[in-house]
């Protein structure tokens, strides 16, 4: 869309360039306009023009604001790649210093012409007539205030904002989203900006390219296309966040004010017994709570140890710190003021976050729980509702109904985070190493953006990525480890089984005797057998092969099945596996997380393949021994040779068991629950 750039006077009497998406509404406010560009500019360019104008020190310099404004507009177009354009300015000629002629004195004919293209010429005249009669403005301003309240903590594209306003405001106001937004912006309660930040946005020495305000992607994720809404031939559109609506250079992004949060430091330090946590869970939750109260924050600040330095080293340290921060942000480390809750698979992470959520809600704060998968959201929602019956809960996922609900407790899939900005005091990120987060800077940006300035982030993971682990080791990110499962038995340690590579086995249609023996042993002890393979293409041939050898495994043919991501019967098969009508399930990494089958053993075929990294191996191994009835599942890495990933996965599991033993969390022999 296009916007009109105008100059008005701020409190100190200086000219300030602003943009208006609804000129008519801007006229209704009766603010004094010094001058404006006759031609509406594409929104991104309009914003850049404003910034260029406002960035100039000599706003009142010779030539007057109108000259400066047209100069800024030209510069903005030039920066966008269109050279040699001239701009007409409507309004008073002469300097800002001329107190007496500050009033808008655009002559009638010129105004007619200038406003005709904004579509509001006639009404603008009316507005003039109405200037004294503010009564008609009242309901509109009230609607604008209401809109501002609805938009708090959000960052919405025009279309989304329109949908929100239509739902939240009474009819005549909800149908005019642009007008309401313009008025709200006039009140200073909403910021209207281009969805893609223009170049001038960072006035630093090294100008960066365009940046998507919604997902943080740079110009390399954008495509320039001809755009009929702004008329430019090279209007940039962000492809990184296209799944949630189109963010483009000329698209309007309505940014609400930050949510008034709670002071996290004032959280009650005591942990109630209401949640029935085990000793290990409790100690981790307490540590997280201490972090939220700001007691553990000191460790991070001291990481560089530069506090005590004086003299010539100081600037050096400062520079190093800056460099370090930049490098860190480049490698997608944890956002500032974040805490890692590193809990082994099956430790009961969900229970552990309840006390944190409760504490923040009690203090009047707002909490977001973000999880990568929709089914987890759907599963967690009723549990949260039960645990926090008095708190308003909004459940957000693609196609959910409380899209615009303004709740203290929000449970969302990660992509929904893009629609928030400065909204939550506590952001809980579940499984940050899992699929959508993994290697996706967009979601990390979104998670950081959704948090309010004084908020905190708690990351939950069983297998934190290497970068984050490094930070924990160096003390930059505080961390609490939960090294034991809720049933207080050690994690099953994977054993190695030497088996030739999958491809060859499938080609020769043979199963090594050792593998058959091990599988048969698992079957005969009554376990459900997970067989993980690295590639989808291996699933079907392996199932066929296993079915052929079903007798020697001690199974019926119908008890063996395979599934993969695009399998239409996936949920049915998992359900059957859960109900023990299937005994052996061949699958890919899709089932590596979030599946809890009581009595299960895990076989990872082709464990040496690059598909299976350390995190994935630990997660798959974590499917075994999850229930208290059968805590000692068997895990086998079947591969022709050991890889680093296999070794470090075993190392990680062993280290957690050791830590659990050292802290005395493990159940002693003969001890009962």
């Amino acid at each position: 869309m296009r916007a009109i750039v105008y100059v008005r006077l701020d409190e100190s009497g200086k000219g300030e360039a602003c943009l208006s998406v609804d000129w008519e509404a801007q006229c209704l406010t009766g603010r004094r306009v010094v001058c404006r560009l006759k031609e509406p500019l594409p929104l991104g360019i309009a914003e850049e023009c404003c910034q260029l104008f406002n960035g100039r020190q000599d706003r009142g310099a010779p030539g007057g604001p109108d000259r400066a404004l047209s100069g800024a507009a030209e510069a903005a177009w030039t920066a966008a790649g269109a050279k040699g354009r001239a701009f007409d300015v409507a309004g008073e000629r002469g300097g800002l210093s001329d107190e007496g002629r500050r009033e808008r004195t655009i002559n009638a004919a010129e105004r007619e012409r200038a406003m005709g293209d904004a579509g509001g010429g006639r009404l603008a005249d009316k507005a003039e007539a109405r200037a004294a009669n503010t009564e008609e403005m009242e309901p509109w301003l009230a609607a604008a205030e209401q809109a501002a309240a609805c938009l708090r903590g959000r960052s919405l594209l025009r279309e989304e904002a329109a949908a929100l306003l239509e739902e939240m405001l009474p009819p005549p106001y909800g149908a005019e989203p642009l007008r309401v937004l313009e008025l709200a912006a006039g009140l200073g309660a909403v910021r209207l900006a281009a969805a893609i930040a223009p170049r001038a946005a960072d006035a630093g020495p090294r100008r960066q390219g365009l940046r998507c305000r919604r997902c943080g992607s740079g110009e390399e994720r954008m495509r320039r296309t001809r755009c009929a809404s702004c008329g430019r031939s090279g209007c940039a559109v962000c492809e990184a966040c296209a799944t949630l609506g189109r963010s483009r250079e000329c698209e309007l992004l309505a940014l609400g004010a930050e949510q008034p949060g709670a002071a996290l430091a004032a959280l009650s330090p005591a942990l109630t017994d209401r949640w029935g946590l085990s000793a290990a869970q409790r100690s981790a939750a307490e540590e997280a709570l201490r972090f939220l109260r700001g007691e553990a924050g000191a460790r991070r600040a001291g990481a560089w140890g530069g506090a005590g330095l004086r003299g010539p080293l100081r600037p050096l340290v400062a520079a190093l710190r800056g460099l370090h921060a930049r490098l860190r942000s480049a490698e997608l480390a944890a956002p500032e003021r974040s805490f890692l809750l590193w809990a082994v698979t099956g430790a009961g992470k969900t229970e552990m976050i309840f006390p944190l959520v409760a504490a923040v809600l009690e203090a009047g704060g707002r909490v977001l729980i973000a999880t990568p998968r929709r089914d987890v959201v759907l599963e967690l929602a009723p549990r949260l509702r039960k645990a926090f019956p008095e708190a308003a809960l909004a459940v957000l996922y693609g196609g959910s109904e409380d899209r615009w609900a303004n709740a203290e407790l929000t449970l969302a899939t990660t992509h929904q985070l893009l629609r928030f900005q400065g909204a939550f005091d506590l952001v809980l990120l579940d499984e940050l190493d899992a699929f959508p987060y993994h290697n996706d800077p967009v979601l990390h940006y979104a998670a950081a953006k959704a948090r309010s300035a004084n908020g905190a982030t708690v990351l939950l993971s069983a297998t934190p990525p290497a970068g984050l682990r490094r930070e924990v080791r160096s003390g930059r990110t505080p961390c609490a480890r939960v090294p034991v499962r809720y049933h207080r038995h050690p994690l099953p340690v994977p054993a190695r089984l030497r088996v030739p590579a999958m491809a060859g086995l499938l080609a020769r249609a043979e199963l090594p005797r050792a593998l058959v023996r091990e599988l048969a042993a698992s079957v005969s002890r009554g376990a459900q057998v997970f067989v993980f393979v690295p590639y989808i293409k291996h699933v079907v041939p392996l199932v066929r092969l296993l079915k052929k050898r079903a007798a020697s495994l001690g199974l019926e043919k119908v008890q063996i099945e395979g599934t993969y991501s695009s399998d239409p019967e996936r949920t049915v098969k998992v359900q059957q596996f859960r109900q023990v009508s299937l005994r052996l399930l061949v699958t890919t990494t899709i089932l590596e997380r979030g599946v809890t089958i009581p009595r299960s053993d895990v076989f990872i075929l082709g464990a040496h393949q690059a598909m299976f990294d350390e995190a994935s191996l630990v997660q798959m191994a974590g499917r075994a021994g999850r229930s208290a009835d059968d805590p000692f599942g068997r895990v086998r890495f079947c591969s022709p040779y050991l890889t680093r990933a296999q070794r470090s996965a075993v190392g990680q599991i062993r280290a957690m068991n050791r830590l659990a033993g050292k802290r005395g969390y493990l159940r002693r022999k003969g001890e009962r629950a």
């Binding site: 869309m1 296309t225 755009c227 009929a228 809404s229 209007c235 296209a242 189109r246 483009r248």
Partner: protein
């Protein structure tokens, strides 16, 4: 340096990411579903744009049952129609669920990187028409100005332009909407036909089209217009647009090229 990087590219073929599913694949690797298009540029776009899985999901219309609208099944609509201002239509793909999803990605989500691929797919509808006659001009069904401002692009125009470049045909805008209609997807056949009446008009002044034929036996060669749209459902849009075109260009013949035929 350039030589070295070329050599490197030759030695280590770079995978491409599928425009739709994002999966990396090797161009020219593995078995792929056949593409019923002859134009090498169009084939290249599809070969390099989609992975084997996605390309196999395209339900190409290879055999047609209705010679008028190009439908792959027996077609009642064309029998029922009393007047038919266009000569014939051809569709490239069947409008099944997968294609519905793709079109939604392009049209509503604005995934403009699919544009070239859509234009290339349209070639499957254009080639049979080009095999029969020559064309003077390519044009497209315009979208409403309001929707154009909203969406930022006119999908039919973009696809038509892309296709016109592939076959070196001139593209000209020739139509405009004179009335805003609601969304077609929520209406039945009768409503659509009623609703479409008088929606379009040719842009004035009319283009100078056609050429003086030097051939001895065809002294009055009609102007042949290829009209492009994304979907053909009942043919109401096609009929209306053809009527508007015929009103402005009395000696014209209108042929339709559709990306999808539902």
């Amino acid at each position: 340096m350039i030589g070295a990087s070329k050599l490197l590219a030759l030695l280590r073929p770079q995978g491409r990411n599928c425009l739709l599913c994002g999966q990396t694949f090797q161009v020219g690797g593995g078995r792929r579903a056949p593409i019923p298009i002859r134009n090498p540029a169009a084939r290249k776009v599809l070969d390099e744009g989609f992975c084997a899985g996605c390309i196999s999901r395209i339900p190409w219309i290879v055999t047609i049952a209705c010679p008028i609208c190009g439908r792959p099944e027996r077609c009642g609509d064309c029998l029922r129609r009393r007047e038919r201002p266009f000569v014939k239509c051809r569709g490239a793909v069947r409008y099944d669920d997968a294609m519905k999803e793709w079109l939604a990605l392009y049209k509503y989500r604005g995934l403009e990187r699919l544009e070239a691929a859509f234009a290339a797919m349209l070639a499957a509808a254009v080639e049979p028409l080009l095999g029969e006659t020559r064309f003077d001009v390519v044009t497209s069904v315009p979208i409403a100005p309001l929707r154009l401002a909203d969406r930022g692009f006119d999908q039919a125009e973009r696809v038509a332009r892309g296709m016109a470049v592939l076959y070196r045909l001139p593209y000209r805008p020739m139509l405009r909407r004179i009335r805003h209609t609601g969304k077609q997807s929520f209406k039945g056949r009768k409503d659509r036909i009623e609703d479409m009446k008088g929606t379009f008009a040719a842009l004035s002044p009319p283009l100078a089209l056609g050429h003086v034929s030097e051939a001895l036996f065809s002294p009055t060669d009609p102007v042949r217009i290829m009209l492009v749209d994304d979907i053909y459902t009942t043919g109401a849009t096609m009929t209306e647009c053809s009527r508007a075109l015929l009103a402005a260009y009395p000696n014209a013949e209108v042929y339709g090229a559709l990306w999808a035929r539902s």
